[in-house]
């Protein structure tokens, strides 16, 4: 059976087309004012990549912050569930999934049957978010895709201490003006975010294996910093971490309420 999952996040919309337990195609795009159209477009792109036409999609599940925005006969599910499901299907030994997205970091633990155990989110704090990384990278003019390269060159990461992302950004700029290397700064930003993720990780007393999901996990320097901090290895999954939510939603759709047509 063919199903689809759409994850409308705080920063990106992601869509996956799933057949049984396999990913056929996925797509991603920034959210914008015209959210309905973005959702439609991402969905279509994913369909195109999968080479599937819309009417073959039997079920559609939406998830993420803006799950409700997916119109049509879709069914919405919580993002933690979807991400956990996806990670478990891809690697049944996963017990902990850390989802680091645009504004929230969520950690979920699952048992050996893949059943959800519990979940925690970070305190409302923008300085521990993917958004903060984006803002800082922009401020010191590092393209998002090169963050890892820069960060890995840093010898002495600068300690970012402000709790307010916007202020932290100005702290960053001040540091640049003081002649601090941008490699140290971006590494510092990553470290501060990874630190918050690691706190959650300690709080839930995470079990092995650990999988990372969400947009931040695409930044390799972030995952290695996180691994170093917690002294654990994370598993690498065969699909891009940012798509896990949408993929999980697609998997859920395999079992969930039927819905034809979709967007």
């Amino acid at each position: 059976m063919i199903s689809a999952g759409i994850d409308v996040g705080t920063r990106f919309v992601k869509a996956c087309i799933v057949k049984d337990e396999a990913l056929l195609g996925c797509a991603i795009e920034d959210v914008s004012r015209d959210i309905d159209r973005v959702i439609g477009r991402v969905y279509q792109k994913a369909l195109d990549k999968a080479g599937i036409s819309k009417r073959h999609v039997k079920r559609l599940v939406s998830t993420g912050y803006g799950a409700k925005l997916v119109k049509g006969k879709s069914f919405s599910m919580s993002c933690t569930h979807c991400v956990a499901k996806a990670a478990f299907v891809l690697d049944p030994e996963v017990r902990t999934v850390l989802d680091c997205g645009g504004l929230f970091i969520t950690i979920t633990s699952i048992d050996e049957r893949g059943v959800f155990e519990r979940t925690l989110s970070n305190d409302k704090c923008a300085a521990g978010s993917g958004k903060f990384l984006e803002m800082s990278a922009q401020a010191i003019e590092i393209p998002f895709s090169s963050i890892s390269q820069y960060a890995e060159r840093s010898k002495e990461p600068y300690l970012v201490s402000s709790n307010c992302a916007v202020f932290a950004e100005s702290e960053v700029i001040t540091q640049v003006n003081y002649g601090r290397e941008n490699t140290d700064i971006i590494a510092g930003v990553l470290k501060s975010i990874a630190g918050r993720a690691a706190t959650l990780f300690e709080r839930i007393q995470a079990q092995d294996k650990v999988a990372l999901a969400g947009g931040l996990a695409t930044v390799t320097a972030f995952s290695s910093m996180f691994e170093q901090m917690t002294d654990r290895k994370t598993v690498s999954l065969p699909i891009p971490p940012q798509n896990l939510g949408a993929f999980g939603a697609g998997l859920m759709a395999q079992q969930g309420k039927p819905s034809r047509g979709g967007v």
Binding site: M77, S78, C79, T80, H81, F116, R118, T119, L120, R203
Partner: protein, 462 residues
Amino acid sequence: MNIHSSENFSISRAALRASSMGSLFSRYPRALGWVKRLMLPLALEKETAFNRHFRFFILMAGYAMSNTEDIRALGVLSRDFQDYLENVIDETSDKPMVWSEWNLSNEILRAFDVRQYVPETFAVVAQMAGSDAAVDIIELAEEEGMAPEHCSAAKTAVGALLANEAPKPDVIISSSHPCDSVTSSYQALQYMTKAPMFVVDTPYWDDDQSFKHYENNLWDLVAFLETNLNQKLDWDKLREVCENVNITNHYLQELSEMSRAVPSPTSVEPLLLHWLGRMAAFGSPNGMKFAELVHNGAKERLKKKQSIISEEKIRMIWYDVPLVFAPLFPWLEKKFGAVVVSDFMGRIQTVPIDTSSKETMIRDLARTHLYCTMVRHTRGPAEFYMEEFQKIIEEYSGDCFIFMGHQGCKGGWALRKLFRDVCRDARLPSLFVSSDIFDKRHVTEEEVKRQFEDFFRSNGLA
């Protein structure tokens, strides 16, 4: 609402109007039921002048207080509340005005011939005049230089003074419980009003020595009041008040217990209301009547094995019930069949007051004060929370725990690992939301709703 208006007590007056309009309706509970059904969606969505008047009742009745008995009870309670407000705004009275902190039970004041004002209560009053009014008042205090980290109730207390909503005090009584916000804000209130102030020193522990210390403090308090008010404490009156308090507490304690039944015949709302109304109706005949009515209503339902809401699906245990999100509760009820069966705010856990002598009264008043909401848990070691929490979990068959933390209660936030561990050991799903009881700027209603929806779904509760 223009808080900078030169007219004194404009918000209090609006709240008074709201409340009287409500009591009028409470005489026709069935009509209110209809009005509620028709008006609730509207009242919750928008801040119109009309809604402002209805707000109190519609919102309160919009919680899980839906049946006629409860609404009648609400009417009784609000009569004392109106008296309280009228007293507060009565600028012609020559009775001395005493300010007393919201957790310092005020039985003793009833045995003096005084008017009373509870500064923090203004947070509730302002809510009744519209949630924007509360935020405006808080901002006023912050603009004056009050620390943003303070409890929003404390900030409203200062804001009320700045906005000419507070009567001029002759004396202030306060205590060092339940938290730093209180100890800190009363120093500010005292500074601004220059009224003589007495502060009861709250003990940390729960042992005899600590109770004795508090008891000594209460004797000091009596002496302070007698000197500064130039009056004698009327011990017969105090006895009468204490007897009423005993009866009230008896009913409410039983009510707390009743929600152990599945389905729960009551929610914590009447308890919370009583707590909020205690400055007006604690130990008064109407307060007692309120307790009796809500108690009897619940008892009826208990006999019939009826739920307070139409269909109970999720039983929630709360840490703090935030007033700003009053509309959340009808939503939770309708959408998920969720009812709050217990929380730390409303729950009554106390001892009866032995009225046989002055000494026993003061001794037991000391105890009841320390068993009061907030103080009971916040002043001492974590066990004060955890042991009661464990008991609640065992007895109330809750499905989940909601820690809707309040910004002011830093002491509570500092314990969240311990809360979480208790939940984990009991296999009780827990949700931690950062919010504020009176200040809606911290988190929006939509965000809270989203978190709830996610939480219920993730944990298979919905």
